[in-house]
């Protein structure tokens, strides 16, 4: 066991190490025999149908794994291809199989998201050309002088980051006095906006790129169906796959928005800055997000189920809801710039938040996970307000914004109480003999959609230069970074920011590849030399 940990702690070892790390985690988690865990899932489902997004996950997971399993066995097991063992066999194998399996469950959605973004960038020129700019990036890097560009990018990213910091502080302050309902409302409103406005734009550009005529009745019917189904599956209840699909799509849309509206160098600077901020906010003892987590733990609150990326594994990948919200803003404020900027902030939040969630999960009981959403919600609300300021909207705008807020606050109590009791039930159900184990199982590792977004931004940016080797290098680097993060998570059982490692790897490989490797490979492939 220790051995593994050590091995893993020499983190620069890619798969093997990470495997061992997971293994370490695995053994820890092994304790609960599957059956009970299973029961726990059922219980949880029965208990609160109303927000199944969270609870649903585990149960589905089992089925999902069993589904995928047979082929796996056939692959190696020498049994004829199709015939897989019955689900119960799945339950036999130890909990920490999910270590490796679960990493893959992260890889797949992340890869899909990146794939979507890259494909869009390469097929729809609209997203690869920056002509409109964010309100938060006043310097547009128009001068040919690299040094000037550099300073512009630096200034832009500093502005963005300061906005992020301010938002986070505000978030904490607001979180201290509890008004969750705002977030809930904003959540729905914003994801609504995202699903409708941005999808509308996407559809339009798609059709334009391929010069396909389309009539309004069809377009509107499509938009209406797409959006409503999305709202239902994200905020209410729908097939898990569908929900996941929507979340990935939403993340990809946000990434595209960033790629579209951030100036060249600023995008890179922001990526770097955000991962640094991620580190600070999560790891420093007084880091805002850590504070959030702690308060959350004290309150021991129920997770806010909307917009969680739940993988089919027992672990729920914790999607952070703001992602959609930010995007929603533009719709609200009708100024893309502000929207995106807010996005950044919230996205950041998510990325940060997610790790803590992880922390919380590993270190404490289900409580932290629950808290997590609230902070986000808080975040959103005040982000909105602050943003209103920042974006310099008219007074009345911010005014009615405020009273909107107020309205929600009034509503708050009712649901809040509802939440509370629900959470209680939840605990009572899962609590029984091995509550801790269960809790752990259910929490697992959570990845905010924010991380999805920034990974995709990185890869998308890289691919916008038209060099595929760079794109692939970034892709691999990010996945490895993700592996390492998970590994460290398993080893240290401590809140870890999800962005820094991946983004650092990504950036290094992106620039190294496009500057050094690309010419080398081009020389080779031009002369058909293979190494």
């Amino acid at each position: 066991m220790d051995g593994h940990v050590n091995a893993s702690s020499s983190s620069r070892s890619g798969a093997g190490a990470d495997g061992s790390g997971l293994s370490g985690a695995a053994e820890r988690l092994e304790r609960p025999p599957k059956r009970t865990q299973q029961r726990g899932n059922y219980g949880s489902n029965n208990q609160d149908q109303t927000d199944a997004a969270v609870l649903a996950v585990p149960s589905v997971a089992v089925r999902g794994s069993s589904a995928s399993r047979p082929s796996r066995l056939s692959g190696g097991g020498g049994g004829g291809g199709g015939a897989g063992p019955p689900p119960n066999e799945t339950e036999e194998d130890q909990g920490l199989k999910y270590g490796a399996q679960h990493v893959i469950k992260l890889f797949v959605p992340v890869s899909l998201c990146m794939l979507l973004v890259v494909a869009t960038i390469n097929s729809i020129s609209f997203y690869s050309s920056t002509d409109v700019y964010l309100l938060y990036t006043p310097f547009h890097e128009l001068s040919p002088e690299p040094s000037v560009k550099f300073w512009n990018a630096l200034a832009n990213s500093l502005i963005l980051m300061s906005v992020v910091v301010v938002m986070t502080i505000l978030l904490i302050v607001l979180y201290k006095k509890r008004c969750y309902r705002i977030i809930h409302g904003w959540l729905i409103l914003s994801s609504f906006m995202l699903l409708f406005i941005f999808t509308y734009l996407y559809l339009e550009e798609l059709l334009r790129a391929y010069n396909v005529p389309m009539d309004y009745p069809t377009a509107l019917l499509f938009m209406w169906n797409f959006g409503v189904a999305g709202m239902m599956s994200i905020h209410w209840q729908g097939p898990l796959r569908l929900q996941q699909g929507y979340l990935i799509f939403v993340a990809a849309l946000m990434a595209l928005v960033f790629i579209k509206y951030l100036p060249e160098w600023t995008a890179w600077a922001v990526l770097a800055a955000i991962s640094i901020w991620d580190l600070i906010a999560v790891l420093t003892p007084r880091g805002p997000l850590r504070i959030l987590v702690e308060t959350a733990q004290e309150r021991n609150e129920q997770i806010f189920p909307a917009l969680i990326y739940s993988s089919t594994v027992i672990y729920t990948l914790m999607g952070t809801h703001y992602t959609p919200q930010q995007s929603a803003e533009p719709a609200v404020t009708s100024s893309p710039s502000s929207s995106n900027s807010t996005t950044t902030t919230r996205a950041t939040q998510n990325s940060l938040a997610s790790p803590e969630a992880a922390v919380a999960s590993s270190s404490s009981r289900s409580g932290n996970t629950r808290t997590h959403p609230h902070q986000n919600q808080r975040d959103d609300s005040n982000v909105m307000a602050a943003e209103a300021e920042a974006a310099g909207f008219t007074q009345e705008w911010s005014d009615n914004l405020n009273d909107r807020v107020a309205r929600r606050q009034i509503e708050v109590q009712s649901t809040q109480s509802g939440n509370a009791q629900r959470s209680n039930e939840y605990r009572t159900v899962t609590a029984p003999d091995q509550a801790p184990a269960d809790a752990q199982e259910e929490r697992g590792i959570k990845l905010g959609l924010g991380d999805f977004i920034f990974y995709s931004v990185l890869v998308g940016k890289a691919s916008s230069y038209g060099d595929w080797t760079t794109t692939i290098a970034c892709f691999v680097a990010i996945l490895i970074g993700l592996c390492l993060t998970l590994l460290l998570l398993a080893v240290w059982r401590k809140a870890l920011p999800a962005l820094p490692i991946s983004i650092t790897f990504g950036l290094i490989f992106c620039f190294a590849t496009s500057a050094v490797v690309k010419p080398f490979m081009e020389n080779l492939s031009a002369k058909q030399v293979f190494i």
Partner: protein, 101 residues
């Protein structure tokens, strides 16, 4: 959420909600309903609510099919007559193709 694990009344309720929701010009929701509840409606060992679920699933399926047919028909009509309809078609168009009538 995981449908198969939900209690039967819950399944029925969901299925019904999806079915009724579909009437708001939401064939897609109907389609989801079909895929989602098909298992329950036809594969699972019978349980009290199953018959109703079955009914809703079938209705949803029919509705979806009708919608699909109607939509395809409309699209064909529009695309073939777009140039002929002239200005009207332009005003109905979400995307007017470049470089062609």
């Amino acid at each position: 959420m995981d449908f198969s694990k939900a209690p039967n009344p819950r399944k029925l309720q969901l299925c019904r909600t999806y079915f009724y929701a579909g009437f708001a010009l939401l064939p897609f929701v109907w389609a989801i309903n079909v895929c989602w509840c098909f298992e329950e409606a036809f594969r699972k060992p019978p349980f009290p609510e199953q018959s109703q679920i079955k009914r809703f699933v079938i209705y949803s399926a029919v509705g979806t099919l009708l919608w699909i047919v109607a939509l395809i028909a409309w699209i064909i009509i529009f695309q073939t007559n777009r140039t002929a309809w002239g200005a009207t078609a332009d005003y109905m168009s979400f995307m007017i193709p470049l470089g062609s009538a």
